[in-house]
């Protein structure tokens, strides 16, 4: 007999507008405010608001029901601006001790792979906002897109966390089961692994009529979970599964509504990630190559698989010191928003020929246009940096050089 651990990811990026060559040096409005507002309203209406109402109701009616969330800072900011109702519902959730919040990088960024200091800064920024809005100090960490390796675990431990989330991928597990708690190699961190088969049954396959599990009832699902031995079956997924990826007419909300009672019939309970953080791990997992929860490869190729993505990411992170040194608050804010993983995802050319899921989530016609807009923005930042260098200061250092020479 096992428990399940439910964790939902809530994230919205600041999408950039079709920033062109002609904007460089003239216009520092990088983000598509209209589009971002429109997407946020749409997803709030279809998913965030109705799904959170269901969860609030479940908490009232099921004394044993527990759930965890991680909400990116960029999503929180946009709720504050465009959908205060969503934020209030999340705050209402946080009043219950049965809802746990996790930490991540504030900007849902790829900083873990490029810049440890920036990563730590963004985590601390996220700690602050979670504390302020939800009154919690998380002990469990989830990195952007579950990107994980030993190195990241070490950094996360140094920030004071007890556990970290990762994909329970066969490629690293081998014969081992994702339903036990592991130790992250070289650390004291517990590693909580996503049971991707059962998670994806809900997140991806729920409405797939060609899938032999269709239609997925809560009773059927509970009967799959029941015989599984282990510490916990970890069901990790995007919150947008409810109402946005799986539309309301697929019955996904009913599924959510009835899942706790169906699990209870099989004596399956709920765990919080923080409870799993306290369990003694059975074994250690040694993971060098970054693992993630995306695509069949479960690596970082969805964000860093091609040359455009690599060049865009390395260019933006290289600008960090100069941007921070500029003291220009709005420039720093923009720069941080540009570290969000989604920007690189839009440049993904994997499977582009087949026009698959990547296309659905992208605001651009092609990955190439995403790259062009992003790099034009990068050039504007470089331009701003050049302009903002105080001329007096540079002539003064020149003067000093001359004097010392």
């Amino acid at each position: 007999m096992t428990n399940v651990c439910l964790y939902f990811q809530v994230h919205q990026p600041y999408r950039v507008r079709r920033y062109t060559l002609f904007d460089i040096g003239k216009n520092s409005q990088y983000f598509d405010t209209e589009k971002n507002k429109e997407v946020l309203h749409k997803v709030a209406k279809k998913c965030y608001i109705p799904a959170t109402r269901v969860i609030l109701d479940l908490i009232k009616k099921n004394p044993d029901f527990k759930v965890a969330y991680s909400i990116s800072g960029t999503a929180i900011e946009q709720f504050q601006e465009h959908s205060p109702e969503t934020l209030e519902l999340f705050q209402e959730l946080s009043d219950s001790d049965r809802v746990e919040f996790l930490n991540e990088t504030y900007y849902h960024s790829l900083s873990a792979l490029y810049d440890k200091d920036e990563f730590s800064q963004q985590v601390k920024q996220h700690q602050k906002i979670v504390k302020k809005l939800f009154g919690q100090k998380p002990t469990v960490f989830r990195n952007t897109e579950l990107i994980y390796n030993n190195e990241i675990a070490k950094t996360v431990q140094s920030l004071g966390y007890k556990a970290i989330l990762a994909e329970g991928w066969d490629g690293v597990l081998g014969w081992r089961s994702p339903n036990y708690v592991y130790k992250a190699s070289g650390t004291k961190l517990n590693l909580l692994l996503k049971n991707y088969k059962l998670s994806d049954d809900i997140a991806f396959r729920f409405s797939d009529k060609k899938w032999n599990g269709w239609p997925l009832t809560t009773e059927k699902f509970a009967s799959w979970v029941a015989p599984i031995p282990g510490d916990s079956v970890n069901l990790f997924m995007d919150y947008e599964t409810f109402g946005e990826h799986q539309w309301a007419d697929t019955g996904i909300f009913n599924f959510l509504r009835h899942l706790p009672s169906a699990l209870r019939k099989h004596n399956i309970g709920f765990s919080h990630p923080s409870e799993l953080a306290a369990i003694d791990a059975k074994d250690e997992l040694d993971i060098h190559h970054p693992l993630s929860w995306a695509d069949v490869e479960r690596d970082t190729s969805a964000w860093l698989g091609n040359k455009m993505q690599q060049s865009a990411a390395s260019t933006i992170f290289k600008l960090k010191n100069e941007v921070l040194a500029s003291g220009n608050a709005s420039l720093i804010d923009s720069w941080k928003k540009l570290t969000t993983s989604d920007h690189f995802y839009y440049m993904c050319t994997k499977w582009f020929n087949d026009g698959d899921v990547h296309k659905y989530f992208s605001p651009y016609e092609t990955p190439y246009e995403a790259y062009i807009a992003y790099m034009n923005i990068v050039q504007d930042i470089q331009h701003q940096l050049k302009m903002s260098k105080p001329k007096l200061f540079s002539s003064f250092t020149k003067y000093l050089k001359e004097v010392s020479a």
Partner: protein, 402 residues
Amino acid sequence: MSKIKVLMFGWEFPPFKSGGLGTACHDLTKGLAQEDVKVTFVMPHAPNGANAKFVKLIGTNALAKNVNIKTVDSPLTPYMNESTYEQHLSNGGKNNAIYGKNLILEVKRYTALAEHVARNEEHDIIHAHDWMTYQAAIKAKRASKKPLVVHLHATEFDRTGGHPDPRISHIEYEGLNAADVVITNSEFSKKNILTHYKIPANKIKVVHWGIDEENIPKGTYKAANENIVLFLGRVTIQKGPDYFIETAKKVLEYEPNTTFVIAGDGDMLPRIINRTAELGIANNVIFTGALRGDDVHKAFKTAKLYVMPSVSEPFGLVALESIKNGTPVLLSKTSGVSEVVQNALKADFWDIDSMTNKIVSVLRHSALREDLSTNAKQESAKFTLREPARKVKEIYETLRKH
């Protein structure tokens, strides 16, 4: 079932120019021969004509076995219009006395001769490529009562930027009307035909083109300036060279060290050269005239980007040649090829700002060039020469059954 025998009215076999109608006819015939379809290929060919570069057919076994070439003495080439025909005629002097005085008369004369040549050729299907061959094909159909396939590579509306010669569009209409099946190269082109001609939509079948990779050389070439942006095609209103030049002017404001190459010939060339001078960018624009053979591949391989700003491009085979040569492409949205190639930059031909934005990005970012090049090349593997031939054979088979 016995082999299908096709009486084909086409152009330039083998083709002496890259891209275009000659290549399309040749590639289709080659593909059909490999599919074991027998083709009798009737085409204009004058000893002193612009089409005189005709070489005796030496091909693979399938070609030699299945293709039979019949030539008709006529100086017609597929892209002639009234003025280019007359110009050609006056250049030839007395030798040309036997030909028609104007284009329409010459087409009429060709029709009579071609029909005569075709009369003794056994066939199950008649297949004609573009308007100059339609009347001959219609006559052949009347004589043999066999089904007619009319292949429309470009309409008179495409060629003239929307200002058709009514005599030509009338011939086009007759051909479309008489056809049992109309083959076109793209959904874009099908939509165009339906806008201009009243024919039933279900008669039109779309067959996207592919390309023969055999001829593409492996080597790399370097030009003195590495920042080359290429236009390759006929310098006519259809191909949008004027938009290319206006875009060049704008790109140069941002990337002054860029060379724009215009490879092609056509009635708009003098105007384009003038405009280049007017814009003060003559030092950054090179006119090569029409390129042949390996020079075409060299032009692609030395360029960082191939731009196809066509106003109306039923397919745009040249874009595939560029891709197979590893050169990224910027395609006008009003082209057939842009509906099948994903890994390309796309813009409206009139949107000079959008084209400038994209061209400058390509010049500035090697990552963009490399990803476009690699991915497009990979994608283009599916645009083979056999694929369209297979589809055309299927159309023949259905027609023969009826």
